[in-house]
C-alpha cells in the first residue's frame, strides 16, 4: 500500500524529503525508508532497532504513540517523522 513519508530535515542531512513506500505498519514503512536511505537508519533507530526517543511519528497528523512502529497504516496515509525533544 503506497504511503507517503515526510522526513524532518535533521534526519536527512538538513534536507526535508518526501518518499513513497509500501507497508502495513509504520515500522514496515520506516524499514523501507531506511533501505532506500541507509544514512537515516542510525538517526531513526537505535542499535536494538527501537525508534529513537527524539522522533515523533504522526500518521495523518495524529500521534502514533504508544504503538508507534506497530501503528497500522492504510493506502494513501501520510507519515510525518518529526525530531522533537520535550524534556527539560
Amino acid at each position: 500500500m503506497p504511503v507517503k513519508i515526510f522526513v524532518h530535515p535533521f534526519l536527512n542531512e538538513g534536507r526535508e524529503i518526501e518518499v513513497t513506500v509500501d507497508g502495513q505498519t509504520v515500522g514496515d514503512c520506516l524499514r523501507e525508508l531506511t533501505d532506500l536511505y541507509p544514512q537515516m537508519k542510525e538517526r531513526i533507530f537505535d542499535r536494538a532497532g527501537r525508534l529513537r526517543g527524539y522522533i515523533e511519528v504522526l500518521v495523518g497528523l495524529k500521534p502514533t504513540y504508544p504503538l508507534e512502529l506497530s501503528y497500522p497504516v492504510q493506502d494513501g496515509d501520510t507519515i510525518h517523522l518529526i525530531v522533537f525533544l520535550s524534556g527539560g
Binding site: 535533521f10 529513537r52 526517543g53 500521534p63 522533537f84 520535550s86 524534556g87 527539560g88
Partner: protein
Amino acid sequence: MEVFLSEQEKERYSRQMILPFLGEDGQRRLKASTVFIAGAGGLGSISALYLAAAGIGKIRIADRDSVSLSNLNRQILHGTEDLGKRKVHSALVRLKRLNPHVEVHAVEEEIKMENVEELLGDAEVIVDATDNVETRRVLNVAGVRKGIPFVYGGVEGLSGMVTTFLPPRTPCFECVFGEVATRAKAFGILGPVPGIIASIQALEVIKYLLGMEGRLEGRLLFFSGEQSAFTEIAIQRNRECKICGHL
C-alpha cells in the same frame, strides 16, 4: 535610568568585563536586564545559575512543582535538604546565595495563556526550561506578541536541541514544531545533557542582551551525547503560520 556597578560587582564580574565585547557598558546592560526562566528543573537549574552568575539584574522564574529525589541527578539548583520544598523556593535561596546582587522573582504558578503576560512582566527574553509542548506553545505566543526572543531547549536521554525563536528574523516555535503533539513518553536523562543545552541557552540570552551576532537564529542545533557531536539544520519560517505569519 543609570545603572550603577559597585566596586564589589566590578570585581565579581571582572573576568567577563575584560572581554572586549562586554566591558563595563555591557555589564551595566546585563544588570539592567530582566530574563524570564520558565521552569526550575534540569534546564532551568543551569540557565538560572549561569545567568545569575553573569549578573543579569532581574531573574523571574516560575515553576509549580516540588523537589523530589529523582530530580537531583540533574536539577542542581536544588539539594537534598530541599526535598519536598517548592522548587521556586530552593531556586530563590540558591540564586541569592550565588549572587546577592541579582533580584530574583520566584513564582509558584503554572504557566498558562491567562497568566503568561503577568509572569513575564518586563522580561526581555524568555528561556524555555519547560518539560512539555503545551507550555512551550503558550510561551511562543507570548514571545511573538511581545516581540522578544524565546530561547527553546529540549532534552531526552543523551540528546538535546536548542535554538532562538525571534520572528520575523527567524521562524517561531509553531513554524517548526506545529505538528508536534503532547507526548506521554517517559524518558531517561543524564544530568550533563541538560547542562550542555541550558549553558547554550544562557549564552544565547547574554549574546542577545549584548546585541552580539552569531546567535542560533534560523538554526536548530542538535547535540548527540551518544556521538559527542553537534549537528545543525537551517529552519525556516512558515508564511502561513497562525502565530507569526502576520509579521
